[in-house]
């Protein structure tokens, strides 16, 4: 991966003022800081660029700055384990917040959205009043080395808002779990 090319391409996106890189749990993490003049699809465009340049799992974190106060430090949920039990027809997602862990399960008969469902259920163990419900997940790109870029959507039926995230995984299910976390993490981080 040519980090210089990726960084230059990301900085050319409107409103981006800083780009940083780090790695955690084998995932290459790209952080963007964007000013008030940026645009709604910045996260999607940045994720597509990062996925094109990265050679392994990648996640994009976006910090948007308006005219308000700086955000407080955030807590994030991370994926610990993802298992499927074909005999039971069940998918299990284990998430962690620091040392605490929680599990969410869903029937695999639902296909890829089951990954979103199990992830939301696991998140609800940390945040009982989570208003978002599982939506859909779709593989939007498969790389030549068989990695899967997946988009996931969750919905708050009361507020009628949708959150969408994109992430890469070694399987479509892993991509869908990570994409669901990408969609939720920034919204729920201050309540965790």
């Amino acid at each position: 991966m040519n980090v210089d090319e990726l960084e230059l391409a990301l900085r050319a996106l409107r409103g981006v003022v800083a780009v940083g890189f780090t790695e955690a749990d084998g995932i290459f993490i790209v952080e963007l800081q964007a000013g008030a003049e940026t645009y709604d699809e910045l996260a999607r465009d940045a994720t597509l660029l990062a996925a094109q340049h990265a050679t392994g799992p990648v996640a994009v974190e976006l910090v948007r700055w308006g005219d308000g106060e700086p955000p407080q430090r955030e807590t994030r949920l991370r994926l610990v384990e993802l298992t499927t039990d074909p005999a039971a027809g069940e998918l299990t997602v284990r998430l962690a917040r620091g040392d605490e862990e929680a599990v969410g399960r869903a029937s695999t008969t639902g296909g890829l959205p089951a990954a979103v469902e199990a992830t939301v259920y696991a998140v609800r163990a940390f945040l009982a009043d989570l208003t978002y419900l599982p939506g859909w997940a779709r593989t939007v790109e498969t790389t030549p080395d068989r990695r899967f870029l997946v988009m996931a959507s969750i919905t708050d039926p009361i507020a009628r808002t949708h959150l969408r995230g994109a992430a890469e995984g070694g399987t479509p299910i892993e991509g869908a779990v990570r994409a669901t976390l990408a969609a939720l993490n920034r919204t729920i981080s201050r309540e965790l």
Binding site: L8, A12, R14, V19, T22, Q33, D45, V63
Partner: protein, 111 residues
């Protein structure tokens, strides 16, 4: 010190523009035993840009560099207008060099 400068000059000779800027920031951090460093620069086609030592994420940007005026920002602070000007110039040249070699020169910012 001499070895650091050679390494920086080598980066400028054979490396990328952004890579050379980050090398310079990292060497400043090492030379002055700094906690942190960043350069803020205005670049045509890119707007205001913050380059943070080590290419590290700014996270919650406790120093608020994302909204800072162009300049060199060191922690702890070290006032040196000449060094600040040189780092801004190096950064602007680094962006222009990389944009030219990547074919992004003159390209408007997306979307």
């Amino acid at each position: 010190m001499a070895g650091q400068l050679e390494s920086l000059v080598d980066a400028a000779r054979t490396g990328s523009g952004l890579g050379t800027v980050y090398r310079a920031l990292d060497e400043l951090v090492e030379l002055y035993a700094l906690e942190d460093a960043a350069v803020v620069v205005d670049v045509p086609g890119f707007g205001r840009q913050v380059l943070h030592a080590g290419r590290r994420p700014l996270h919650d940007d406790e120093h608020r560099w994302h909204a800072a005026e162009p300049g060199l920002y060191l922690q702890p602070p070290l006032e040196d207008p000449v060094l600040s000007g040189l780092m801004q110039a190096l950064s602007a040249l680094g962006f222009r060099h990389d944009a030219t070699t990547s074919g992004r020169a003159g390209e408007p910012a997306n979307p």
